[in-house]
Symmetry: C2
Subunit: 662 residues, 2 copies
């Protein structure tokens, strides 16, 4: 491995000093017994010694003026408590001496502009000509090596490559931030095994946006992280890392789910603006392949729209009669032999106003014809400015040159129709900017518990709730009930009872005249089923008129990430059918409407056969208010839930609010 | 193209006679002016002349004793009505002369055992050593060429390859049936652009099963087919081709959705028995890659279970302390250098009783080490007999030999974790055998219309329905209602009204004493909103006690496919949340329970907090009965729907049955 490391440094533009007390020469270079005996200063020290010897090397490194240490050695935090202590000691020593650390337990770095290849991964030796403008940053060297291998396959050289190992000091986010000012880097491809603190990640995304760099992220560890124990119902419906995902999308970065996607998306981002919509124009030389694309488009949230009359008229002279000028456009094998004509078809489709992106699907087509077709696609893409992706279903070896030509122009070439559709779907902007937070001096949530406290917050936010009154003596219930209407709801109030209905603590549709008797019976039942619960009294509440029930929940700000507001279909649908959508808080009323539109139960709100239109605006205002409160509370809020928010034909009522502070 | 065709025939074991009146020699072979002047008989005539000249060639072909014509020529049915007529004429002429036809508009065939390469696709020239035991059959030559290219990339030669073009005579299903008796073929990889008649497809799957051949199917044209106009609610919820899909799965064939999957699944089927469950053991050299697998498993319906204590104990001596003996097993880079040890890990994981299949995820690993690891995986797979799939995230060029070694042993090597998981999910048996149909002499559905007719069928099947009576005079309604209980439901009966509630034709919870008055008002309202509807009277029905509502629908037998029974969550959930499952009819009561278990709304039936357990058995019996009726009716039934089937704590009631015959 040491030998591989030295070989890799052959093209480095600066001096390289091997250090080893047992050798006088390594690989034709003079070798030095220790860092203190180097003939000149060293900016970067590459350390490949057993973990126990690392502290002495760090101490020595001070002598040679090193600014950075790359600790390849393993045997640190990844091995347990002892290793973690050793890692902390090494880091402290480095800091005392003004040195920064990459690693430990890492595979080093590559920076092509200076010819620096300071890594022992075999993948770095694969031929991969040309700077792609893509940087890889990740803890894992194995995943990084895989990415180098895949890039080599695609004829791409990564401009920078960093395996950050245990991230004792330098993290993926900080390193990515550093590369934002590098004019040679266009896309930061990040692989994350743990989520960075929110502040660090926001800093990176802001910086990247400022410098016009694009970020694509693959994260693992979802299954390991598990679900945070959640008191509220929505807590179990929101997958771990949702705040990270939403924040990443809001910044315009792209999230992917597999390694090939990390690379193929990075390639596409070196060129393209993201497609503003889901409408794809498909150009293919095979009716069957076009049909596969049309079949699968919907599975990826994309559409293959019909072309307008002008586009079809423009295509007509370019396509033989047994082809198709409809979308997907089947140019037939005949046109494939005329790359100029094929290019004209691609341009015409790209120019179609109802097309947001172009998918070219090619089949049996290799060698020089392939290169000519690739060049015509490249030119069409360049002229149109719309995103173009190529699914090339053929032998990789036969299309090597052609696909390299395309990829170097930022046109991803992928081996399947589904990979192409997935890529186009990923490129679509998904995030929406948060609204500007309002500050209204709310009483902090930590001081509130129980239904009455929730009611107070609803009143502060101007959200309707059922009128009602707490009675401590059941005898008062009837008098209170008769003020509220013909029928009422009775709810036991106790700090010790989480699920009132489980202990007989909720009675619906109680005739007001019999409220006191019912309250008596209820308290007896609760005393029997929950004998140790402290009971504050009985809440006598008006009956809320029926409507469409929604669930509205907030996970409070955590680890530097903004709060997440989640809306879902109420009743059993949220849980059974996972019909929920989330956004970072706060959201405006308009954004709240967009969230509601994203629910499968939207037709119930919007009105349809047998369902009158609901007051979506009022529901959205309530959701927006709650989200602003969550933003104002910041990390003091743990969770908050309205379950249900009942949306009427006019108005919306929060039947219940549960809030917990930190 | 003619030249490419002739070159391809160089290795054919029999004589080859070029025919062309304008040449005396082609490619070193003597050329004959017409088919009637050949020096010997010709079994197979390859026809590559313009469409208009094909009839004369067919007439001539009789002279040389040809049994088969391969019509490469295009310009037939694919071009429209004129071409269709020409195709019919050609086919009739061939039949008269006792000849069968492959094509027209096809790219020919390859059969490696006799060295026959009768195709002009360039893909046939790619080096692809070794018979894989896989046959491709599809209409499309372009898709077929892509598959040849992909196979060449994977180091695989397809044993047989047929592009069937317009299928004027020989179809994919018939050709596949022929290959079932070929001992050199193990897997039939079929690409279908249109669905074969059910009888033909059932014949093939039965034959394949009898000869131990596996079938994998990719079909396109879903989006083109569109949805059949459906009167019943479930019709819109069942995607087109569901009967084909269910029948295919029932037979043990595998359905895939993209071209790479067609090939990779075929490779896996040359070796493996299908995994009996969803539990996968993951072995990897990279913790990150293992984590990606664990994250994504659930998305593909797979699980990464915990190992039992014995398996962990057996792994313990094989894995360094900084690796992981838990699932996913991280062997660390150290073990990768020792292929015997890696093989032992794979064997141990495969032997674990809680593992149904093994996923090996490899990263940066190429050259000879790669081949050694591949060999150890192959041996472990051979020993265990469980399905093994390898996700190898690296440069294709670097692992060429290693992955070829694996694929030739029936172990698929795919480039991403998600492709591997998708493949394992596809391999799982999904179908269930239909129950044996009962015959009970039901009155055929064509004779029935309206609610009363549906009621008759429910009675024949022994399915409970609300008691009720049709009154032709509204004055009778109160008397009838008072027999039925305190409250009743009134429903207008008219052959012209599909959606009664849209025209005010349904009244719920009518006090029995006021039923006549209500019936009068309802008929007036209907007369106003649907003035031209013929009205048979008013159905006075008892109120059904509440319960969990289900939707039960049947699409009748069609095109030779069995009927499809679909159950779904009732009310809005089926439509909004697409919570439906389907099976081929008939199903047994046990299979009906399995269908219900597959619904997301199952917890409502099974009982949970706030929901009492329902009488699932009664619901399943009703579903099974309906499915048997559908099987008995055969193609005479178009559609049938119970909406809703209300499942009580005891019993189940079909609130409404709509049936339409053909």
């Amino acid at each position: 491995m040491a030998r591989r490391l030295l070989d890799g440094l052959a093209e480095f533009s600066g001096p390289v000093y091997p250090v080893n007390p047992n050798h006088r020469e390594i690989g034709g270079r003079p070798c030095y017994p220790s860092l203190s005996e180097l003939p000149g200063p060293a900016e970067l020290v590459l350390v490949m010694v057993p973990a126990q010897r690392v502290p002495s090397v760090v101490a020595e490194a001070r002598c040679c003026g090193a600014a950075w240490l790359v600790l390849f050695s393993s045997g640190f935090a990844e091995t347990g408590a002892g290793g973690r202590r050793l890692q902390e000691d090494v880091l402290a020593a480095a800091r005392r001496n003004g040195m920064r650390v990459l690693g430990p337990n890492c595979q080093g770095l590559i920076y092509r502009p200076t010819g620096l290849r300071a890594t022992f991964t075999a993948a770095a030796e694969l031929p991969a000509p040309g700077d792609s403008g893509i940087a890889y940053l990740g803890q894992s060297g194995a995943i990084g090596g895989s990415l180098l291998g895949m890039a080599a396959d695609r004829g791409l050289g990564l401009t920078a490559w960093l395996s950050l190992g245990n991230q004792a000091d330098l993290t993926v986010a900080e390193a990515a931030g550093q590369l934002c000012t590098d004019p040679r880097i266009e896309v930061l491809a990040c692989y994350l095994e743990e989520l960075p603190p929110g502040s660090e990640w926001q800093e990176l995304t802001t910086r990247a946006a400022a410098h016009g760099k694009r970020i694509v992220v693959l994260r693992s560890g979802r299954s390991r992280a598990g679900q945070r124990a959640a008191a509220a119902h929505t807590g179990a419906l929101v997958r771990s890392g949702t705040a990270f995902d939403l924040l990443t999308r809001e910044s315009g970065a792209v999230l992917v789910e597999d390694l090939d996607e990390l690379l193929d998306t990075a390639v596409a981002l070196t060129r393209c603006s993201c497609p503003p919509g889901a409408r794809i124009g498909v150009v293919t030389s095979s009716g069957g392949a076009g049909s596969l694309a049309a079949d699968q488009a919907g599975d990826h949230g994309m559409r293959v729209p019909e072309f307008d009359a002008e586009t079809r008229a423009a295509l007509q002279p370019l396509i033989p009669p047994f082809g198709s000028t409809a979308n997907p456009v089947d140019v037939t094998a005949q046109v494939i032999d005329d790359s100029a004509q094929f290019g004209a078809v691609c341009r015409t489709v790209a120019d179609c106003p109802s097309v947001d992106a172009v998918l070219v699907v090619l089949t049996t087509l290799g060698g020089r014809t392939a290169t000519r077709i690739a060049e015509s696609v490249r030119q069409a893409a360049e002229r149109s400015g719309k995103p173009v992706v190529v699914a090339w279903l053929y032998s990789h070896d036969e299309i090597r040159a052609a696909s390299q030509l395309l990829r170097r122009s930022g046109i991803s070439v992928v081996p399947t129709v589904s990979a192409a559709l997935r890529l186009l779907a990923r490129l679509r902007p998904h995030g929406q900017r948060r609204a500007r937070p309002l500050v209204r001096g709310l009483r902090p949530p930590g001081t509130m518990t129980g239904e009455a406290a929730g009611a107070h917050l609803l009143d502060q936010l101007g959200i309707s709730r059922p009128r009602g009154q707490l009675v401590t003596d059941p005898e008062q219930a009837t008098a209170v009930a008769e003020e509220l209407g013909d029928q009422v709801v009775l709810k036991v109030q106790s700090p010790d009872i989480a699920h009132k209905s489980d202990v007989g603590g909720v009675l619906l549709g109680v005739p007001s005249g019999t409220a006191s008797a019912a309250a008596h019976r209820m308290l007896e039942e609760v005393a029997r089923t929950a004998p140790h619960a402290r009971v504050d009294g009985v809440l006598v509440q008006e009956v809320v008129p029926p409507g469409v029930e929604l669930l509205v929940g907030v996970q409070g700000s955590d680890n530097g990430y903004p709060p997440v507001i989640t809306v879902g279909a109420g009743g059993v649908a949220a849980e059974l059918h996972r019909d929920v959508t989330s956004a970072l808080a706060p959201v405006s009323t308009g954004q709240a409407v967009a969230l509601l539109r994203g629910l499968r139960c939207w037709p119930l709100l919007a009105g349809s056969r047998n369902h009158p239109e609901c007051d979506v605006r009022s529901a959205a205002r309530a959701i927006s208010s709650i989200s602003h409160a969550a933003a104002e509370f910041g990390e003091r809020l743990a969770e908050l839930e309205i379950n249900p928010l009942i949306v009427h034909r006019c108005g919306a009522t929060a039947a219940d609010l549960v809030v917990s502070g930190r």
